[in-house]
Amino acid sequence: MASVLSEGLAVSALLFAIGLVGLLARRNVIMVLVAIEIMLNAAGLAFIVAGARWGQADGQIMFILILALAAAEVSVGLALVLQMDRRHATLDVDALSDLKG
């Protein structure tokens, strides 16, 4: 059982790293959103694995919470993407820096 935890967490960490690199490296806002989804799922996987390790339902509850959160986030995010395309005619996140200090 110990190997489930360590292997699962290793996969989770890998997914998180992939997501983070994607977030930092990609300039297309759609890809940034995809990267965020990957990172959210990495966190969800870590919860599932931990829940399985200790035989608790909490991990799965947290995963459902994350799922709902991700759904909400995507709906807001896609609405923003739509607005971004309409108003600025670009999907490049670096092009938008009006809030510069």
Partner: protein, 628 residues
């Protein structure tokens, strides 16, 4: 019946609230009925309460309304206290106040601010009644500041003229200087004696403090500061002549009959405390004597009819302070009452003259009004005679005479105080009849407009009557009287023992007093009616002209304060323009601005940059957590 006491201040307060909240929406008739009626009903309530007071054998009566606030041992109550002293003061405030309100109903009829005027006047009467009826010093302070506010509002009543506003401000600031000392005095008393209830406080003070020791002297001096400011005595006297900028009924009510005598009332109310501070008593007597002389000289050369009366008010209050200082408390209160009658009369009659001559204040341009305004002339003559203590028939003679006698005969008094009072009496006759001669005798100089109607004539007539018969209350035993007023007040204000051997020379002193008063009047007729060229001759010399200018400016106190106090204060204000206290606050602002500039570059506006910062930050924390 004594329960009616609460209505006495409550009715004028209600009148004020109605008039104030209606904001001028009421018709003039309704305003007059409310404004005058509320004070009239207060007078009725005062009479009812006084009747009840007599029925209970003149025993002190307290009426508790509610507990104001309760903090540990500090439990001031809204509670009224009626004894002989507050009864006299209450009677004067409601009685004279009602007559002046009645007079104002006609006097102010053409004024735009009719409703505002009566609102402020009612506020004043309510505050003054709270002052005189208060059972503790905190409630007294509420009334004390209330009358100060009403005085400020009414001096600056015609606020269209900026000079009136300046006069109001001056009166407010000068009295406030004294009030600061007054409040500190209250704190000292509470800190040392644990109560502000006047009766308890005096009792505690007499139990705890040794006469002449430090604390009663300090407390007495601080409270005296407030009294000096309110009563326009040296060195805080300069505001009173300028306060004449207000309407004439205001001068009559506030700056002659009632408010300016609040200091006299305060000292008499706390006489048990002042008995423990003989040094302060002596100071009160000296201040009173000096003020009465200085302002009598100043009154000699004034050309504004109301300023003559203002300086004369200061002088008469000087007499009251002199009486308080030599321990003749009841003489001070008797003069307070009689002075309220005749000085209100003089101001009201002067108001009739001013109105008849179309707002003319300069007595140089008056004259010969005796034939044109006979009623006003005879009333003014009665008031003037009472002011200059015309022997035997006027009330002013008996009240001033009592003060002169006590100034000589009291163990705290002496020949010097008596001589100052005597010289003052001489000068009073001189300046009073100078005024009467200039205004009413000689050739007529201008046509008169409106004569006073019955609403103005009745108060003048009643006050003239009181100025004569008021003396019957307190005829000394030398003239075969019973001195009932003094006996009545003796419960509250104990009579002083006399110095040994003075009874024998009482007739001589009386003769001297009569001589001083008649001599002043005689000299006035000689100098200002029969031989005016003598006065002109003195005035045309360099020294005479300089003296007239000096006295005319009230001995130059305004310039002295302007030069020493105001100039120094303005200089300090200029030097400290950037306010050294602000420097610390500004430093915080500058430091924040610097930090802001430093951190600004991190706000690039690039989302990925922020994500990177978050990721690096999180990694950094993890690293730290793993390392430790």
């Amino acid at each position: 019946m004594r329960d009616a006491l609460v209505l006495v201040p409550a009715l004028p307060l209600a009148g004020f609230l109605i008039l104030f909240l209606s904001m001028g929406a009421l018709k003039r008739g309704a305003v007059a009925w409310i404004g005058v009626g509320s004070v009239g009903l207060a007078l009725v309530a005062a009479v009812v309460a006084a009747t009840g007071f007599w029925r209970h054998g003149a025993a002190p009566y307290t009426q508790t309304l509610y507990t104001w606030l309760s903090v540990a041992a500090f439990v001031p109550r809204v509670r009224f206290y009626l004894d002989g002293l507050s009864l006299v003061a209450m009677g004067v405030v409601t009685g004279v106040g009602f007559l002046i309100h009645l007079y104002s109903a006609e006097f102010m009829i053409d004024d735009e601010g009719y409703s505002r005027f009566f609102a402020y006047m009612n506020l004043f009467v309510a505050a003054m009644l709270i002052l005189v009826l208060a059972d503790n010093l905190l409630l007294l302070l509420l009334g004390w500041e209330g009358v100060g506010l009403a005085s400020y509002l009414l001096i600056g009543f015609w606020y269209g003229e900026s000079l009136n506003g300046l006069a109001a401000r001056k009166a407010f600031i000068m009295t406030r200087l004294g009030d600061v000392a007054f409040v500190i005095g209250l704190l000292v008393l509470f800190n040392r004696l644990g109560t502000l209830n006047i009766q308890d406080l005096v009792r505690n003070a007499q139990a705890v403090w040794v006469p002449g020791s430090f604390w009663p002297t300090l407390a007495g001096a601080l409270l005296l500061g407030g009294a000096l400011g309110k009563s326009a005595q040296l060195p805080l006297q300069t505001w009173l002549p300028d306060a004449m900028a207000g309407p004439t009924p205001v001068s009559a009510l506030i700056h002659a009959a009632t408010m300016v005598t609040a200091g006299v009332y305060l000292v008499a109310r706390l006489h048990g405390l002042y008995a423990l501070a003989p040094a302060i008593e002596r100071l009160i007597a000296v201040i009173g004597a000096v003020t009465l002389l200085l302002s009598a000289f100043a009154a000699l050369v004034q050309s504004d009819i109301k300023r003559v009366l203002a300086y004369s008010t200061m002088s008469q209050i000087g007499y009251m302070f002199l009486a308080n200082g030599v321990g003749a408390w009841s003489a001070a209160i008797f003069h307070f009452m009689i002075h309220a009658f005749f000085k209100a009369l003089l101001f009201l009659a002067a108001g009739a003259v001013i109105q008849a001559l179309h707002d003319e204040h300069d007595i140089g341009r008056m004259g010969g009004l005796r034939r044109q305004m006979p009623f006003t002339f005879w009333s003014f003559l009665i008031g003037g005679a009472a002011l200059s203590a015309f022997p035997f028939i006027t009330a002013g003679f008996y009240s001033k005479d009592l003060i002169l006698w006590d100034a000589f005969a009291s163990p705290l008094g002496g020949p010097a105080f008596w001589a100052a009072g005597l010289l003052g009496a001489f000068l009073t006759g001189l300046y009073t009849f100078r005024l009467i001669i200039r205004v009413f005798l000689g050739p007529a100089k201008s046509k008169i407009g409106r004569r006073p109607g019955w609403l103005m004539a009745v108060p003048i007539g009643v006050l003239a009557l009181l100025s004569v018969v008021g003396g019957l209350l307190n005829i000394p035993s030398l003239f075969g009287g019973g001195a009932q007023f003094t006996h009545f007040l003796a419960q509250v204000l104990p009579a002083q023992a006399l110095r040994p051997g003075v009874r024998a020379i009482e007739p001589d002193l009386e003769t001297a007093a009569i001589g001083a008063s008649l001599g002043g009047i005689f000299l006035a007729f000689l100098l200002f009616l029969h031989a005016p060229q003598w006065v002109e001759k003195v005035k045309s010399t360099v020294a005479g002209a300089a003296l007239a200018r000096w006295w005319g400016a009230g001995w130059g106190f305004d310039r002295l304060y302007e030069g020493v106090v105001a100039r120094a204060y303005a200089g300090w204000a200029r030097a400290n323009r950037d306010d050294f206290v602000d420097a610390g606050v500004d430093g915080v602002v500058e430091g924040n601005r610097l930090l802001h500039q430093l951190l600004r570059w991190t706000q690039t506006g690039h989302v990925r940059w922020y994500a990177m910062a978050i990721a690096l930050g999180a990694m950094g924390w993890f690293w730290l957590a793993v390392l430790s």
